[in-house]
Every structure is written in C-alpha cells, then in structure tokens.
Symmetry: C2
Subunit: 331 residues, 2 copies
C-alpha cells in the first residue's frame, strides 16, 4: 500500500486538519466529533442541512460545506458510517430555529445511525426531516444496502437543496425539493481498478487486466457483472442505457460525469464526449453539467454517470451562488 | 493498460470533443488545430494570453481557458509539445490588437515551438512576448529541459496574469506581472507510482513497493532521487524544505498542493495539513491556497507543492473573478 498518509488509523483526523488549514475561511472543524461546519453555522432562520457518511469519497461531503450548500458534514472512518452522536451534535450545531434536513445516502449503516440521531435531536425539540438518496440503477439490494444505493445524485441534491434553504424556504418546502431531485435522478458507475482502504492495507477486490466491473458501488462492492473492457464509446453506452431505460429523460437534464478518484481528467473528457453523443441521440438536452471528481472511492479508476431531469426551478437553484471547497460559483 | 479511451491515437481529439460538449458555453474548440479558445476570443483591446503544451496534465491548460484566465490553449499529443502552427493559429485567433503573451513551461520542445510561432506571428504584425516558467527546484537540467522545469507556478501565473490582462493592462505591464510571479514561485513534486502514456501502453517507469521518486517531473522524468516511503509528515518536509531553502518565503504566500492525477483528495488533505504546519513554523503565512488536481500527470499517484510569495497586487489579481472549467469564482 502506497499512500500519502501518516498512521492508517489517523487518516480521517489528519485529513480534517488539512481541510481546516486549507479552508478555515469558509469552514470550521469539530475535531472531537469529526464534523465540518459552515463557518457561520448556525444560520438563524435557515433550515440546517446535515449530511455525512464514510470518508474516502472526497470532496463529498466535507468539501460541500459552505454558503449555498451544506451546513455540516459528519465524517465517518473510511467507508464506514459516522456514529449517531456525531450526527446529533451536528444537528444541534446547525439548528437555526427552522429545523434540520438530514441528507443520507442509502446504506444500511448510515440510515440506522441518522435515524437514531434524529430521535435524539427530537428530544432537544429540533424538528428533523430526512431525505434518503437512492439513485443507483445498478442493483437493488447489495452488500451494504436494502434497496438502491445513494450515489451521484447526492452531490446534485446537496447543491440544489442548499440553494432552496439559502432562500429561506421552510423545512417542508426544502424537503419537497429534495424528494423531487432524488426522484428525478439516476446513476450508474463502473470501475477499472479496485481501491485500498488504508486500515485494510490491501485492495478491496481484484479485477483482471482486461475486465471492468459494471455497476460498481462507491465502496468497491460488486455491481451487475464483470465485463471485458471495450472502447470508451461502448463503456458510455453501458453506463447510459440502464439510466435511460429506468426513467424517461427526454427533455432538459443536468449531467454529472464523475471520476472515482484515480482516473485522469483527460479520460473523463473522452467519456463525456461519448456520453454527450448518446444523450443527444436520445433526446436528452444537457443544460448544465459537471465533469470531474465529486463522489470518489479513494484511488479507484473508473467513473459514474448521473442524470437529473431539470426544470426551471431546478436550474435556477443550480445556478444560485455556492461557496464551498468543492463547488464554487457566483461568489 | 486500462483506460477510458477509444483508440490511443485519438485520445486528445476525443477529449477535446468532450471539453467542447461539456463547456461549450465558455469555450470553443478548433478541432483541426487542437486549440481551446475562450468563446468570445479575440477580445478587442485586451492582451491575448496563449498557453499550451503536451496533453495529460488536465485541467492545465485547456481547463484554464475563459474570462479572467487564458484566451487559448494549444493541446499537443500526450506529453508532447504542440507544433508551431497550432501556436501561430492560436496567436492570430486571440489577437485583439493589444498583442499576445505566450505562457510557456520550460521544456525544450515547447520553447522551440513557441519561439517559431512567435516569429511567424511577427510576420503578421502581431507583437508577441513570452514568459517561460521555471519554478521546479528539484533539478537543474533534465531529460527534457535545459534549466529548471516549469510546473505548478504556471497555474498560479495563468490566473494572476489573466486578471491583469482582463484589467486591460498593456502587454509590457502584463509581462511584468508574469515575470514577477515566475520569479517569486517555487515548486517540488513527488510520485508514488508511474503513469502510462496511452500510445506507449506501458508504465513510463517502475518504482518499488516501498519507494517514491522525490523531485519527479510532470512527464514522469526522473527527479532528485528515489527514497523509502515514509509518513506524510516526512514527505511534506521533503517537499517543503528544498523550496524554502531556495527562496525566502517569510511573509505572505499563495500555496498550491497539487495532486498528480491518481491521488485521492483525502490524501491531499492529509499532506496539506502537514505542509501547513511546516509553513507556519517557517514564518510563511498562507493567504490563499488550492488543494486538488490542477497540473497532473495522467493517473500518476503523488503530489507537488508550489509556493508563491504574495503581495497586495498579487492577492488582488488572484481574487479577481475567473470563469474557466478548472478554476471558477466570482462568476
């Protein structure tokens, strides 16, 4: 295992120190609880947005904390859910009197722990609602999940719902936007290589020199099947088809072509070019897009495609200013 | 070789199609000459900024084209200089009557070809000046270079000089800012793994399981020496010390902790935390920073550190709005 780390046991704590050192102008870090807060949290009168999950998916979620996006992100150990206490502390820390929305990717550990945190917060008279993202069309049920996994749409949702909260919409209205985004988003990923969890010290799985895993999960959990690696044009088809088959995306859409962490941007652009051709032929008009590493799996080589049906409201919220380490415009 | 590409011979052309598909709102692409232009180039009365170099370093340079940064970027084949004709066409394409600055990383091929392009442009009565970046303290002279190599400072320079040109400073004044930035910037990199040039099909070099290359070049060319891989705290010291020994950075600075393409952001933050401690102890006050993949070497694992001495003028130009695929704020 070759990594830029100190002790494998300290990797999350050390990275949080780096996030604070780099972005202390926008975020502050609770090192006892491994929480990244928006610097000015709690914002009075604004719905607080709390997300979190296992580390190793950076910039998600800590890199999406700041004005126009999350109020707090709870960092678990690598690929491991944060504990309920973290989420409870974060919920109390961001409550500005308008309630708190938990944004949870559909993984069994995260669901359970965020539920416990919501119950604990209710005892402090904080109203908490929860949106569970489950956009991955690759598999229903998996090693870590009952139902579909929550992946790329989480990034788009945190941006769009962040803008809705910034407008001072109330908790019901913010939850409604969140449900709409999750309902209109679908994702599919593939991996060319495994990744190595620092504490494990060896690759999570092995893939042959001519194989890729279609429908990979963001923790390296199995997807639909292993296939023989073909050209980017075929890979793009294998990502796009299951998404387009699952929901009618004819019309406007936001597209995220996401790198898993170890794939060069050069290759992501090759893939985006192929995806764009397929979408155009399918009547999907991409009105906004992101190409890059947004929800990663450590140094895994591969990518995922996320599509989100867009209407005027979604595009307007997308275009609103955001100022986070991982996503920034208009500020 | 496992890559998200079609034919290895087409990787640059295919990636440029992806860049156009993704960022057509901000850039346009000349597919015959492999040039990425700012959508509204030439901007009348503004000094035109042209950079370029081998591909495989994305987002540099094509991802830095747009308002507040470059007017055009010429893409060579992977790790290969663009040809003079590309640079000549780009120079003519961005000339808005105020002359053109060529921003060239110090590699022998780039220097030679940009010089020829400048001579050709002079025949069309376009005044061209050139800044050659040479910030890498690792080695003097190398496989591809006479003198120090141009690396991370190029990113910072393109941003800062881009802002100066946007203010409509004249060519002499823009060149002066460029010289100042290059003179005040220093870099040092390290690699944990090699990368694979698509046309070669096999890794550029090999490193033992417990080794890293200190002072690596961005094409995988050798650095100072191979050392045994230690903890991030030691690696940060090995990057920072040669930089601090080369120039007095006491006072304000802009820091870039750059990923080489295959290193997870989690690890870059671990490294940034260590670098920040060293800089603080050394009397360097980091007033602005970037942490992420900005000047990459395909899927190489590793990172580089760039420091730039900052004064009020540099910080003001840094903070000015920029709207490119790779760097965006204030827009």
């Amino acid at each position: 295992m070759k990594k830029l780390i100190n002790d494998a046991a300290d990797v999350v704590a050390d990275a949080l120190r780096g996030i604070e050192a780099a972005h202390g102008d926008r975020v502050r870090v609770d090192h006892d609880h491994h929480i990244v807060y928006r610097a000015d949290a709690p914002v009075q009168g604004k719905v607080g947005l709390v997300s979190g999950g296992g580390s190793g998916h950076e910039p998600m979620h800590g890199g999406f904390v700041g004005p126009g996006m999350l109020d707090a992100a709870c960092a678990g150990e690598v690929f491991t859910s944060p504990v309920p206490e973290q989420m409870q502390v974060a919920t109390e820390g961001v409550d500005g009197g308008a309630g708190v929305l938990h944004i949870v990717k559909n993984y069994t550990g995260d669901i359970m722990n965020f539920e416990m945190a919501a119950e604990l917060a209710a005892e402090s008279d904080i109203r908490v609602e929860t949106i569970v993202t489950d956009d991955d069309v690759a598999v229903t049920d998996s090693l870590y999940t009952a139902g579909r996994r929550g992946v790329g749409v989480t990034v788009l949702l945190e941006k769009i719902v962040g803008a809705a909260a910034e407008e001072r919409r109330d908790l019901d209205a913010v939850l409604e936007v969140a449900k709409k985004v999750n309902g209109q988003g679908r994702s599919m990923g593939l991996a060319l290589t495994s990744c190595t969890v620092p504490a494990a010290g060896k690759p999570t799985f092995e893939l042959g020199e001519d194989e890729f895993e279609l429908g990979i999960g963001i923790h390296g959990e199995p997807g639909r099947e292993r296939r023989k690696l073909g050209p980017a044009s075929e890979l793009a088809q294998q990502l796009a088809e299951p998404i387009l088959a699952d929901l009618d995306f004819t019309g406007d859409a936001i597209a995220l072509l996401n790198g898993m962490g170890g794939t060069p941007l050069l290759e992501l652009y090759v893939m985006y070019g192929e995806v764009a051709k397929i979408l155009e032929k399918s009547g999907v008009r991409v009105v906004r897009n992101l190409v890059g590493n947004y929800i990663t799996s450590l140094e895994m080589a591969g990518c995922s495609l996320t599509l989100l049906k867009a209407d005027d409201e979604i595009v307007k919220l997308w275009d609103a200013p955001v100022n986070t380490p991982g996503l920034r415009w208009g500020c």
